[in-house]
């Protein structure tokens, strides 16, 4: 026993893992502290030398510039604070349009990869491989400068039934102005949505109790369109059409989609759609063929196999990928700046920053917005993920 090798009873201070870890972390802390100290002091000195203001008071000053498109009333006499809101809403608008359309395109193209038709398969592959390998900004320019700029002038507009018009200045389609009784129609829409939830629960309960199935999807669709339609007919169509018409060199009335928005939404849709198609393909491929065979062998019909076996399993792969694609889409929407669509970046980091010079505050606010938007997407997608991952149907 006495020949046991001598073990040092107290290892050197630096070799103790605990001490080491504390030293490393202190070093990092001091390093960062120094880094931030020098940045902040430099920045303060620089700002003073250049006479840049600080603080958020500028938000209450008059902006004095016009914005191409706004979802809320805005003119040059409004404040910088309001330019922030206008830009934010425009960003949200193009993001929502992009997310909805790219999801539709992506799912169609992703599923097309499994078509029995060779042409459809090849077309889907060609779409994905073409558009995800070309820079997004190039695609935006292509749509904006090469395609939309080549559209005819207002006088030679292309039109669909003389109510929808497309020309170099944008897309014009009819708007609806509510009249007395319109609220009944709104109520019908709300009732249809609530009704669908009730119907779903009722159908599930009935199936649990009696085993009888109910065509929830078709009845829901019927309700969603039928109820508002019924209300429209009963109330004698309580809306006035606001049809765009040519006045001078431009169209008046109706709803206008400016070419900047069209080009940006189109490019974001096509680009992100290619990535979503890949995600969908990967998700479906992740479900082994044995799953389909097992489901067939217990006698499930093909439609039910899709709904009960394939989709839930594929969604587990697809949803996390969708999450990051949606976030990229929102971040990529900042490219609006390149063609002058007035999103948050163009309006706020562009014009407002130029006029006020308050780079720190403005860049900080903008980054915070993108963080919040992306957190929201993440939160929603995680909710969706846990609901597709664990529920049975």
């Amino acid at each position: 026993m006495s020949e046991k090798p001598q073990v040092k009873s107290s290892p050197s201070f630096f070799n103790n893992p605990r001490n080491r870890s504390i030293i490393y972390q202190l070093l990092l802390l001091f390093g960062l502290g120094y880094f931030f100290y020098s940045i902040i002091s430099n920045t303060l000195a620089n700002m003073e030398a250049r006479g840049i203001q600080s603080g958020y008071d500028f938000l209450f000053n008059t902006a004095g510039f016009d914005i191409l498109m706004s979802l809320i009333p805005y003119d040059a006499t409004n404040t910088y604070g309001r330019t922030f809101i206008v830009g934010l809403l425009n960003t949200v608008l193009v993001s929502i349009i992009g997310i909805i359309l790219s999801t539709i395109v992506g799912f169609i193209m992703g599923v097309a990869h499994f078509s029995h038709n060779l042409l459809i398969r090849k077309l889907a592959t060609a779409y994905v491989e073409t558009f995800r390998n070309i820079p997004l900004l190039l695609q935006i320019f292509f749509w904006y400068f090469a395609v939309l700029a080549a559209l005819p002038s207002a006088r030679q507009s292309m039109s669909l039934g003389e109510v929808i018009f497309l020309n170099v200045r944008g897309l014009y389609f009819p708007g609806l102005t509510p009249e007395g009784g319109a609220s009944v129609v709104y109520a019908a829409i709300a009732a249809a949505i609530i009704g669908i939830f009730v119907l779903k629960r009722w159908a599930k309960k009935r199936q649990d109790d009696t085993g009888q199935q109910f065509p929830v999807l078709w009845v829901s669709l019927g309700m969603l369109f039928g109820l508002p339609l019924l209300a429209l007919i009963v109330m004698g169509f309580p809306f006035a059409w606001d049809i765009p018409y040519l006045k001078g060199f431009n169209f008046r009335g109706g709803v206008t989609v400016i070419p900047e928005l069209m080009a940006l939404a189109l490019a974001l849709t096509v680009y992100t759609g290619a990535f979503i198609a890949e995600a969908v393909r990967a998700g479906i491929q992740a479900v082994p063929h044995g799953q389909t065979e097992a489901a067939r062998s217990i006698g499930l019909k093909e439609g039910k196999i899709m709904k009960l076996i394939i989709v839930p399993q594929a969604m587990r792969v697809i949803v996390p990928l969708l999450n990051s694609e949606y976030q990229s889409l929102v971040k990529n929407s900042t490219l609006a700046t390149a063609i002058g669509y007035p999103d948050l970046f163009t309006v706020f980091v562009g014009t407002t920053l130029n006029q006020t010079g308050q780079a720190i505050e403005i860049v900080f606010m903008t980054m915070a917005v993108y963080f919040v938007v992306n957190m929201t997407i993440s939160f929603l997608m995680n909710r969706l993920n846990s609901s597709v991952a664990l529920t049975e149907r």
């Binding site: 109790d209 085993g211 009888q212 044995g290 097992a294 062998s297 217990i298 009960l308 587990r316």
Partner: protein, 256 residues
């Protein structure tokens, strides 16, 4: 002709009738002139070298594979290109796979009730009661609320058997149910299968478990190169092979 009418046409007790069945994968002739009749309650073990077409033939019986020539009648329903017929046949035939193929996103209980609820349109309570009954028969009722990933291979395979049984099939097909399992788990699965056989289920089982074949099989079918080379009682097959091919095969598997 409706499914019901066809059912009454055949009035002998052969539950599966395969006549001159031929199948090709592209240019490759996998099944050649297969003729096979299976009586109700008969237990058949199918063996043969790898690639001989055992799986393919078994999978034709519940139309997981289509064939190009010949005819196949299951429980009086002839297999034709018709969704209704295929569904009717699949309702009569249960299948157990080599790799279990449980649905990983559903609990064990949900795996078992899926078919009864969506195919047989049973109320949930009733389906769950049946499911629990079968889980007890395969001796794992306590796992009902776990997910497949949390079970051992042997347990998963027993769940897969119970899942098929929940549909009340007339016929059970097994495609190498024990070959993905560790030795100690093989026995627990075979025990369940033997019990099932004793209850009179019609069974077609692709397996190399010769002990099982000797114990339960009424008939052993030996396949090679896409044909049925020999079929006979287990004793005859093992002790008195008629062809050189079977003798070679037996010497190879008994060598282990």
């Amino acid at each position: 002709m409706s499914v019901e009418q066809e059912k009454t046409n055949e009035n002998n007790d052969d539950i599966i009738v395969i006549k001159d069945l031929n199948k090709w994968y592209g240019e490759f002739h996998v099944l050649k002139d297969i003729n096979l009749r299976v009586k109700k309650g008969e237990k058949i073990v199918i063996c043969g070298p790898s690639g001989s077409g055992k799986s393919t033939m078994t999978r034709c019986i519940n139309r997981l594979e289509e064939f190009q020539r010949g005819s196949l009648t299951v429980n009086g329903v002839e297999m034709i290109e018709d969704v209704k017929n295929i569904e009717a046949i699949r309702r009569e035939v249960g299948m157990v796979f080599q790799h279990f193929n449980l649905f990983p996103h559903l609990t064990i209980l949900e795996n078992l009730t899926l078919g009864p609820i969506w195919v047989q349109k049973k109320p949930k309570k009733e389906a769950e009661a049946t499911a629990m009954k079968y889980l007890e028969r395969v001796k794992i009722p306590d796992q009902a609320n776990k997910f497949p990933g949390q079970l051992s291979g042997g347990q998963q395979q027993r769940v897969a058997i119970a899942r098929s049984l929940c549909m009340n099939p007339e016929i059970m097909l097994f495609d190498e149910p024990t070959s993905a399992l560790d030795p100690e788990m093989i026995k627990e699965v075979l025990d369940v299968m033997i019990e099932l056989a004793n209850e009179g289920m019609t069974m077609l089982c692709v397996t190399h478990e010769m002990g099982f074949a000797k114990k339960v099989a009424d008939r052993v079918i030996f396949m090679d190169a896409g044909e049925i080379v020999e079929q006979n009682t287990p004793e005859e097959i093992f002790n008195n092979p008629q062809t050189d091919r079977l003798q070679l095969f037996l010497s190879q598997i008994l060598d282990h």
